[in-house]
Amino acid sequence: MLQPGPASLPRLSRKIVAGVAGALLLTGLAMAPASSTPPDRDLGDDPRNNATGEPVLLTRLLPPMVRGQIGWVGLMWSTETDICEVRVTSSATAGTVGYPTNTGDHSSFYVNDALAEGNLDFTALKLATPATGGMQLGVEVRYTRLADSLVLRKFDDLVTKSVRDADCAGATASKSYTLTVPLIDAIGPAVSLDTDQVSVAAGKPTWVDLELDGRKPGLTNVRVALTPPRELAVVYPGDGTSSGLTKGTDLGVLSSDRAGVRLESSVPGTYRVPVRITWGNGGQLTETLTVRVTK
């Protein structure tokens, strides 16, 4: 659902979006006029909107996410008038919202923090959805309406052009929206072993990676241990009794990680080895790994 609700705000801070340098096909393309003298008008700009136009959130539906999933989503924006020094912030009723690292406490448009009337850009938000319940996002965009229609034109190259400080002159305002994040529950087991077969040469101890896929929330302190037949020796990192994950201790929803084990056997053959995956407070699952020991 989309619920706009404009409200006036004091002028924005000038500290905006260091290092904005992305590119979006509809805004960032360098379209330098053949002549060195720019045209004296912007055909895409209606100056009657300069005091009233607002940014328009074109995204009405966010992509579905699995409960517990962490991922980036994009909000597409256009605007009814030229705007600059745009800051987008968001709050969630459950779960969390994060921003690009270069903007820190907010997001802006991808290419620039300015946008010409009618053009497009998008905002990146990092969502961590809750394990249970629903999730709604409050999205607020703060901006300055450019009073002068000629400061920013539809064909400007916003990859390189800056519309800040003295160039960003006009009234400031804000607008708020509410979006629902469609959440779905994963089906099946909380975790799965994506590696179903490995091969090692007889007499040659070999480290192999076992890939795990996370499907549900709560996969903390994930460990892997094999129950090998007597012909197969298994060694874990640090000579422990199990292997942890490579990237960290936890496995996110719809994410993958690997656990390494060293296998050694002097007897060629094919072995079906139970793999016990444990996590959190008592979670466990046993899968089967086929180990082929070649001559």
């Binding site: 509809l26 960032g28 055909l43 992509p63 597409m76 270069n102 009618g118 064909f155």
Partner: protein, 127 residues
């Protein structure tokens, strides 16, 4: 993130290079509804003229569908998302340069931009 964005920008600008440098004032068929298709363009004009096989108005629909698909996904990292938003749709029968010409027209023409925004609201809501 800034580095990633720069990388995405560089990637896009390489891709878009064929469509750059044209004078939008002179190559915007959206402002010339009476385009004379009976006149063969010169080689230099050809690069900046929209392909005959698809009108800018038709391309608006294609581009809106493409952007809806991009927006309809969850990305593991913002760089991948940026590259996806920056990408052009693959259109059968059109070269990348021809697609770029159409994208430029949509971006620089007020009526086409408006049509794209309206199409996005419709297409993405129906996706």
């Amino acid at each position: 993130m800034p580095g990633n964005r720069r990388a995405a920008a560089a990637l896009l600008l390489v891709v878009l290079a064929a469509g750059c440098g044209a004078d939008p004032e002179g190559t915007d068929p959206g402002r010339d509804s009476g385009a004379d298709t009976s006149v063969s363009p010169s080689a230099s004009q050809e690069q900046a003229t929209s392909p005959a096989s698809m009108t800018p108005q038709e391309f608006v629909t294609v581009l809106a569908d493409h952007l809806c698909q991009v927006q309809g996904k969850v990305y593991e990292d913002p760089t991948a998302m940026g590259e996806a938003f920056a990408s052009l749709p693959e259109v059968e029968g059109l070269s990348e340069a021809e697609t770029q010409v159409l994208a430029d027209e949509v971006r620089t023409d007020a009526d086409l931009s408006r049509a794209l925004n309206e199409a996005l609201l419709t297409s993405c809501a129906d996706a």
